[in-house]
């Protein structure tokens, strides 16, 4: 039996007003299963990032509700929301994931340092070994390669054992080999540690690491797919183009 790690009900997000109004999310209902690796795909501008930000409590919603576990995020004030992000959510962004003045080690334990809690050293060691960064712990981000930086970011996201990790195109800036390393690591954390992960991606290949793919177009969920492979995802994506989605840009 699966439980729900995060959930959104009739989630709507509108940017701007009047003429310039953009409906980025249009009544989205979604639930994220615990212990599973979910990918969100869709053409550019379809609202993937917006959905992730709203689910993660980084942005306010225009209407609808969002839960992480059984906490309703839309009812929380900034302080409580910040604490919830710190304690229950991990993040990996496409770029600029690390604080340049801190070492890799310090970046990994940053959320716990902010919370003032003691990291579980065994767990942190396990993660560091899994991402293979032991020899780089005292390096500053500027002394690490892009792939290494993203691995540090993944390690940070995992280190505090969050209930859920959100990743927005974590491999968007990486070459295919480093990308595969990072994705493989994310998948392992799901398989071996039971971590819940939601990942936004453009890349069918990346999506194939997930266990479930949700397709977004024009701020609505239009399809989903279980146990995806790169080919099936690519096929599905091509159909968006053929359907002539007005906001769709050619996917690289």
């Amino acid at each position: 039996m699966t439980t729900t790690a995060a959930r959104a009900a009739s989630l709507t997000k509108i940017y701007g007003e009047g003429e310039a109004q953009v409906v980025a999310l249009d009544g989205v209902d979604i639930s994220i299963d615990q212990g599973r690796f979910t990918a969100i795909m869709g053409p550019s501008g379809s609202g993937k990032s917006t959905l992730m930000h709203c689910l993660a409590g980084l942005d306010s919603v225009s209407s609808g509700q969002v839960w992480i576990g059984d906490v309703d995020l839309t009812a929380l004030k900034d302080k409580a929301l910040t604490a919830l992000r710190r304690d229950k959510v991990g993040f990996v962004f496409q770029s600029f994931n690390l604080i340049p003045t801190l070492t890799a080690q310090e970046n990994i334990t940053l959320p716990m340092d902010i919370a003032g809690t003691k990291p579980d050293q065994q767990w942190v060691d396990l993660i560091i070994d899994t991402v293979g960064l032991r020899s780089r712990l005292d390096h500053k981000p500027s002394e690490l390669s892009g792939g290494q930086q993203q691995r540090v970011a993944c390690a940070r996201a995992l280190a505090s054992r969050p209930e859920i990790i959100f990743a927005d195109e974590p491999t968007g800036n990486l070459d295919s080999r480093s990308g595969a390393e990072v994705l493989g690591f994310l998948r392992r954390s799901v398989d071996e540690f039971g971590q819940t992960i939601v990942m936004v991606t453009h890349d069918p290949n990346a999506a194939s690491y997930a266990q479930r793919v949700v397709f977004l177009a024009d701020g609505r969920i239009v399809d989903e797919m279980a146990d995806p492979t790169a080919e099936r995802v690519l096929d599905r994506m091509k159909r968006f183009d053929i359907e002539g989605n007005p906001t769709a840009d050619p996917v690289s």
Partner: protein, 847 residues
Amino acid sequence: MLRASLRNLVAHKLRLFLTALSIVLAVAFVAGTYVFTDSLRASLDTLIQQNQPDVTVRPAAADFSPEFQGAGEVLTVPTELTGAIEDVPGVVMASPQVLVPNVVILDDGKPLGAETGGFTGGTAIGGDWPDDAFNPNTIAVGEPPVGAGEVAIDTGTADQLEVAPGDTVTLLLPSGERRDFTISGTTEPRAGSNFGVSFVYWAFPAAQELLLQPGQATSIAVLAEPTASQQVIADGIRPLLPTGLEAITGEQIASQVSEQLDSGLGFLNTFLLVFAIVSVFVATFLIYNTFSMLVAQRTRELALLRAIGASRGQVLRSILAEAVIVALVASLLGIVVGAGVARGLQLLFQAAGAPFPSAALVFQPRTIIVALTVGLVITLASAILPARRASVIPPMAALRDEQPRTRGLGRRTVIGGFLLGAGVGLAVMSPQLAEYGTTNAAIMAGVGALCVLIGVLATAPELARPAAAAIGSPFRGVVGRLARGNTRRNPRRTAATAGALTIGVALMSAISVLAASTQASVAGIVDDVIGADFVVTGYGFQPFSGEVSAAIRATPGVAEVAVVKQAPARAPGTGDTLITGVDPQDIQRALSLTATEGSLDDLTGGTVALDSETAAEIGAGVGTVVQVLSVVGPVDLEVVMVYEAAGGFTGYVVDLPTARELGASQQDNVVYVVKETEADATSVEADLNLALEPFPNVQVLDQSAFKDSIGDQIGQLLNFLFALLVLAVLIALLGIVNTLALSVFERTREIGLLRAVGMLRNGIRRTIVLEAFIIAVFGAVLGMVIGVAFGALLQRILASEGIEKFAVNGAQLALFLALAAVGGVLAALWPAWRGSRLRILDAIATE
């Protein structure tokens, strides 16, 4: 490209504002200084122009510097000359006048304003109420004084006393007599201001009787026919005058006074400009820092411009054009704010006791030209380096580069190190130069200190990393770690921001050390030199009646009394000075002066004792005859003793009869009192106070009170200097605001990330505030080290001038440090608030 510059300026209003603000403040100080002195000058000019009779007959040789005038005997003119003068062709009227400088207005038995001190120290100018034709004043309320029992007083004094016509005022006359008078009216000047000086007027006969002898006046004012030449009339009067008197035209007096004012105000102007230059120097730092940051942030944008075909020169010019626009706007604003600064200076001087009027402000073209030039030059000088740096970056390099990298510090550090070494060398050697004159040594020390300062500022980036780590080390946790990291990531920026504060704190510390040393030395001298148990002085160091010393002599328990008189003179080696008159026997019981040559016992009529410093300067020794110009004319004096100057006791010393001959007044300036050895000090002091009750204008100070009274004066001067440095420190703090605001802007993404992974707004704020704290403490400590060292150096150089002891006011220095830290924290509040308000998503959104 000009359009691009303008767009840029408009697009970044905030940054523009911050850059401009520092220029505004620096320019405002410069402009304010000029406006202040020009306004003062203008208000004095109206006074001089309006108040001169066509011709004045007065005692000759009355043109000593104003601070020495009135210190000696009141010289007089016989009134009987009036008739003869009126017979001179072209003269309409001649009128004898009385004006003496030392009438004391009593308020509840104490001299009015004595407590607050100030220039006049409770003393009023007393005179007759002249005929309208000669009267620079008018009656504001009431009537002119009539008879022997009535006076008119100036409105300001009446307000202070809270009296009105019809009330009574108690006066202490120069003769020592205390009398009540009825106030007939209050007066106000026809033009200008009284400059805070109190005035008391009687009808002429009463003034003559109370202040002078029958048949005497202090001058005779002459009214000429409108068509007559002042010069011709003066020439006509001159043959009538006995020797010692002169007839001088109104124009001559005006130009004489003008000259004195020019030199006095010139000094004041230079003095204030020195502080203004400090502010400008500090502001230059800030502007340079801001432009560096702005350009660094725009590197990619500029590179894009280059990539699409803008030339190097175009990029350079666009940045400089931006700088010129900012400089012009800010300088104009600075001139406007300068009016506020001028007003502030007026208030500051008033608070320090200088009675400068709050007159209308004068903007001369010169002020505006200087202010604009200063603003343009410092802004362009600050912008040119960053602009050059930006223009030489190859376009692709800049586009690729995410974060502008700090370049090596090598060359700068080497030059800085060299300057530092040279500066220390100069400074260390400078005390040796003191033999050849302290001014030279002080200049050398100053140049050394400047080299050290610039050297330290140049090498400061190297220091910034370890210093930031050390200062930040007590702060544990992420906040501490982040703040330390932020101050260390761009050491140049940290150093430049802190450097501005370093300059201000260095100056304040040096002044503090010098003042503490002076105080300690004075106290030491009082201990070593003054054997007297009590010192009796007038409030505000005004002279007092001879009856005081008589009353002291009659007090039980008093063993020795030594009286000191002063006579204004112009003497070789000292310029305008006061010659001290003492009784050689008495004074040796009260003071222990060290003779380097001769003996004070030989001091008799026509001889003089000289301090060694002055003696060396004019090459005099025992036996040399020196000529001094006194109020009664040139006098030859033979040197019989050379002594070591001890604190306030310096310069020319003669015996009492000679002092009188030189024009010292009948009044005394200081009385030293030695008690009988077995007498109890407390009871003698009580007896003295009792005996001196009839003389409310004098105070009895025991040794420690005497030290305190000198200490108070130094403290007052100190506060005044600190107030002038405040603006420089404010600009430095503004620099912290600026740097942090721009840093926060630069770190938008980083802050967003921290917020995303769970840092509360408060955490962001604390990080930024702590960063400011580290920068401020770093700058202040650096400044303090330099300042204390420089202060110590100056003390050594000035040791021969009497500042023999080195002392540090630890509490004061600690206060500076605390204030700098608090200032830094306050400076961070706004950037911190902004940082904490940044939208998280702005940070995460990829470009």
